[in-house]
Symmetry: C2
Subunit: 241 residues, 2 copies
């Protein structure tokens, strides 16, 4: 669950006079949501497995590898659901491959600690976004989304590693703080690209955040909540300013 968060500009919002805004969330949005999440898990697996190699110890490597393995468990649950809905997982994921790969290639960690921060801060931000969107879908889809977004002790691991890293070498704190901001920026940028292309997903968000009337206040509130939680995570790592 990684890499796609809410846009902060309104450039990509659909025309508010669009009649379809009045209809409730339909199947295509659910398929998109599950497809984006599924590819998010598959690519998070891939990147965590890759980043695990930078671990300074076998224990650290095993820990990050285990986090990657958990993502695959989540992937399987999402792929299963997509199959139940009659959609091959590869078909549902396809529209999101490019944006997520771009996100990952623009945020490739160059150190172990950058990898740890990305696993916690980047994925945490994406999880917050999906949890917000999950509020607007049916109960069974929502339960599945909450299940696959469980972070399984990731926070504790990240806090321990990053705080130890800063204690050993205080100069890394500034660089990691910048890194956290870069993760947010790239995630926002790729999410905008995705939403510009996926009307159903965009309508789900617009409809969900604003109730029956179409307004931007709902989206703004959502952005505020996600930003606040991002700041909390950076503070937990000792990277707030």
């Amino acid at each position: 669950m990684v890499g796609l968060i809410v846009p902060v500009s309104t450039d990509t919002l659909p025309n508010v006079s669009d009649h379809s805004l009045a209809t409730p969330a339909a199947e295509p949005a659910i398929i998109d949501l599950l497809g984006a999440l599924a590819y998010g898990e598959l690519s998070a697996f891939d990147r965590l497995a890759d980043d695990a190699r930078m671990a300074p110890t076998l224990d650290g490597r095993a820990h990050m590898s285990a986090m990657a393995a958990i993502e695959m468990g989540h992937y399987s649950r999402l792929a299963e659901r997509l199959e139940q809905l009659g959609v091959p997982p590869a078909v549902a994921m396809e529209p999101f491959v490019a944006a997520l790969e771009t996100y990952h290639s623009l945020t490739e960690p160059s150190t172990w600690l950058e990898g740890v921060v990305k696993a916690y801060v980047g994925d945490g931000m994406a999880a917050d976004f999906y949890r917000e969107v999950a509020e607007f879908v049916d109960e069974s889809t929502r339960a599945l989304i909450h299940e696959v977004l469980a972070d399984a002790g990731r926070a504790e691991f990240a806090v321990r590693e990053v705080r130890a890293g800063i204690a050993a070498q205080p100069a890394v704190a500034g660089r990691l703080a910048l890194w956290g901001r870069r993760l947010v920026g790239e995630a926002i940028s790729q999410t905008q690209h995705v939403l510009a292309d996926r009307d159903a997903l965009m309508l789900l968000m617009m409809h969900g955040t604003s109730g029956s009337s179409v307004e931007l206040a709902g989206v703004a509130g959502l952005i505020e909540r996600i930003t606040a939680r991002h700041e909390e995570r950076m503070a937990a790592l000792g990277l707030s300013h």
Copy 2:
């Protein structure tokens, strides 16, 4: 569970007049066995995750990534057991890191099908070896080893991928058959290096395969059984000659 199989030469066998050969398998051999297996799982995870990127389809990639995730589940079980025995997993794994990394670097697949063959044939061979050695240890360790060596549908996947690959391009069969032989050769070579360094493990095998008397017939039988099963796997892939 990968990369370490039985030696075929007797160069590395301990002196048969060594008095300790008469004693039954002791703790150090169990720790070595669990450590080798644990690092085998961790490195197999790493290599499968890497090789998954070569998949021609998202489904293939997800399938190999899921295989990697299963290895991490096995790793956790082995690490848990090592901790119960009072040995930090990293300490138990350390003696086996170099040999397994050498095995993997000498058998880095250059195509998707080479990766699939390695996942099935290479890991299958290693699993056969560990299963043989498991016969000589206590029941609880044996049960754990059998559990972590379960291949979870890997055969079916490999057979399907390789047979489809050969059907599409018959010329690959010859290269893959050579590849299978190379996997065996490198695995044997690295296993010899490991056993030359780990007396307890070597003694466990010698004692186990030959009962109370020290002789090479037991080891020879073990090699024969592992070779026969290797040939069966190559035949299942359509790669026997």
